[in-house]
């Protein structure tokens, strides 16, 4: 395609040659000759054929975590014989930030030359991203011809919610079920911890016989063990619009999602069953199951989460009663910004559910992003928040989580609480 420059040069040529002929003045032929010469030379660098330039991606699909850096690689090849000055731009979504290098390059490629481009990106939000298409633009050095085309091959990138290693903090449900797990259930059964000695029964394994006790009592005795079982945990994420305090880069919803995935990963690793319930603009739920696949399903359901206010926590009660199993641990992740949420949690606790609340602190987050500090308003907010947490502490452990600190530190409080009770 000819550019505007070509048009301007053609206009100069036409006007000056006409003036030169009309006025029979030689000086007007100078711009006419020169502009014609530029146009002629321009034809030496015509744009390459679309087939002559190929772009290959290193990967077509990738799974990564939100906030983690990821390298995007492109290989550009000029299959033609002539040189090419091309500009390429890999289109990125709005929530993708380039951290090193660039998605926009100017390349000089000789005939048959191959060039590799690498740049690092960071996904700012848990979402399903599409990187691409690659827009290519050719412009000859004299700026007379240009050509735009694109390579539709996009890369599908899934940014999963980040998972924090919770280390020693083991959050466990009080009520266990028949399945094997890591929770000591104060009953005799299959396990590794010694519980008591009992009379030998037919069928007991030889390795379980306590030989010292047998020698002392002159009667066969067997070791019995504490049964290790697993339980059900439902992670409930408060995705209400009014709870989502903060800015795009850092907000309550992001912290809630981080807490939910970290807790789900930790609980699943203990062979428990974990389910999910997200309430906001939509209700998303995952029936409790165990295993790594369940963790990915939970993560998948927490992707692309937006704050909303269509559903109420009262609706959660209905889903809990009708769909989820009874006597499970409800692990609420909520900044507790309204009394309605507190009342709904208390209502569920009064029924048959065991509850625990992890509450990311919106007051500390707000303080980081507000320029003018209003001490009185902050005090009032803290008092309100403390009152709500105190109210819920009657029913179960409530963790006040300052989001600047690791979640592990905050969860340690729950463990101590459980050990005391």
């Amino acid at each position: 395609m000819k550019t505007k420059n070509f048009g301007y040069l053609f206009a100069i040529f036409f006007i000056t040659i006409t003036l030169g002929m009309m006025l029979m003045d030689y000086i007007f032929f100078i711009p006419a000759f020169t502009s014609l010469a530029i146009m002629i030379v321009g034809y030496l660098d015509l744009p390459p054929d679309e087939k002559d330039i190929s772009i290959e991606r290193d990967q077509e699909e990738v799974h990564t975590y939100e906030g983690e850096e990821f390298t995007v690689g492109l290989t550009v090849k000029n299959h033609g014989d002539s040189k090419a000055f091309i500009e390429i731009k890999d289109e990125l979504s709005t929530n993708v930030k380039v951290t090193e290098g660039s998605n926009h390059h100017s390349l000089y490629l000789k005939g048959g030359e191959k060039k590799r481009i690498e740049y690092k990106v960071k996904f700012l939000k848990t979402e399903n991203y599409s990187i691409g298409p690659v827009n290519v633009r050719y412009q000859d050095p004299l700026g007379l011809f240009s050509k735009n085309w694109n390579f539709q091959k996009s890369m599908n990138a899934i940014a999963l919610p980040p998972v924090e290693d919770l280390g020693r903090t083991k959050l466990r449900p009080k009520y266990t079920r028949g399945w094997l797990g890591n929770i000591k259930s104060a009953q005799m059964g299959v396990g590794s911890e010694f519980f008591s000695i009992r009379e030998y029964l037919q069928g007991d394994e030889m390795r379980d016989i306590n030989w010292k006790a047998t020698a002392r009592y002159l009667d066969p005795k067997t070791n019995s063990f504490e049964a290790e079982k697993s339980g059900d945990v439902i992670v409930v994420v408060d995705a209400f619009y009014e709870s989502n305090v903060g800015v795009f880069e850092e907000n309550m919803l992001k912290h809630s999602v981080r807490a939910a995935t970290s807790l789900a990963s930790d609980i699943i690793s203990d062979r428990n069953r974990v389910g999910l319930l997200v309430i906001g603009d939509f209700v998303r739920w995952v029936y409790p199951r165990s295993g790594q696949e369940q963790l990915y399903e939970i993560m998948d359901n927490m992707m692309d989460l937006e704050g909303g206010s269509h559903w109420r926590l009262e609706h959660a009660k209905f889903i809990m009663d009708k769909i989820f199993p009874n006597r499970c641990l409800l692990l609420f992740i909520s900044p507790l910004t309204s009394d309605k949420v507190t009342e709904a949690i208390a209502g569920l606790a009064r029924k048959k559910y065991e509850i625990a609340v992890v509450s990311p602190s919106p007051v500390d987050l707000q303080k980081k992003y507000i320029d003018i500090e209003d001490e009185l308003a902050e005090k009032l907010q803290r008092i309100e928040r403390n009152n709500r947490m105190a109210e819920l502490r009657d029913y179960g452990p409530v963790i006040d989580w300052n989001t600047d600190q690791p979640l592990e530190v905050a969860i340690e409080g729950v463990r101590r609480y459980q050990m005391r009770t």
């Binding site: 420059n5 040069l9 029979m24 030689y26 000086i27 032929f29 100078i30 711009p31 000759f33 020169t34 502009s35 014609l36 010469a37 530029i38 002629i40 030379v41 321009g42 030496l44 660098d45 014989d81 002539s82 040189k83 000055f85 500009e87 380039v98 951290t99 090193e100 290098g101 660039s102 998605n103 926009h104 390059h105 100017s106 390349l107 000089y108 000789k110 005939g111 048959g112 060039k115 481009i117 690092k120 050095p141 004299l142 700026g143």
Partner: protein
């Protein structure tokens, strides 16, 4: 490498503002050169206005303003020289200046594009852009030299005989022979300086 540390680095600052420095310097030099040639003529100060328009275009990164400013300077220069003596040297000088104006427009537009690409970079720019710039500069110089040769040849053909002289029937053959001779020289130059080096380079 942190972006913050880089921002305090003087070289980083210069690199990021390299476009402005180069563009303003080229425009100023062009304006000074034209003023030098036009002074003490009647309109010697007019190129300053064109230069200002170009500099505003550079600041606002507007291609149309940059081009308009340079075209304005070129037009003033050309109109001021309408009454110039019609000697071969003066005509060749005019051709050279026309190419210079066009070259500056193309250079500034490419500088603008490179600046946008530079701004998108995080961390080290690397070798790609440097290589592009080097080859682009080489290519534009080669192309403009070729333009110069063609324009001079065309000018020579027309200078040898007047318009009426060529139009006469018996001289048409002479004109065709001259044109073919000039075209032959161009073709030879093209093969010698463009095609053969490219062929050997791609053969490596």
């Amino acid at each position: 490498m942190s972006e913050k540390r880089n921002r305090n680095d003087i070289w980083y600052m210069l690199r990021k503002r390299g476009f402005f420095l180069k563009a303003i310097l080229s425009t100023t030099l062009l304006v000074l050169l034209i003023i030098g040639l036009l002074y003490p003529g009647r309109y010697w100060y007019f190129p300053i206005f064109g230069g200002l328009v170009s500099i505003i275009g550079i600041l606002f990164k507007s291609k149309i303003l940059i081009t308009s400013g340079i075209v304005f300077i070129g037009a003033i220069f050309f109109l001021s020289n309408l009454t110039i003596e019609r000697s071969p040297f003066n005509m060749i000088l005019l051709i050279a200046f026309f190419i210079l104006f066009y070259g500056v427009i193309v250079y500034l537009n490419d500088l603008l594009r490179r600046d946008i690409i530079c701004k998108d970079f995080r961390g080290n720019i690397g070798n790609t852009l440097y290589r592009y710039r080097k080859n682009w500069n080489r290519s534009i110089i080669k192309n403009l030299s070729f333009v110069f040769l063609i324009a001079i040849s065309a000018f020579m053909v027309s200078w040898i005989g007047t318009f009426e002289f060529w139009v006469r029937m018996e001289n048409i053959v002479l004109l065709v022979i001259s044109a073919l001779f000039i075209l032959g020289i161009q073709l030879l130059l093209y093969i010698l300086f463009i095609k053969i080096p490219t062929f050997y380079k791609s053969g490596e």
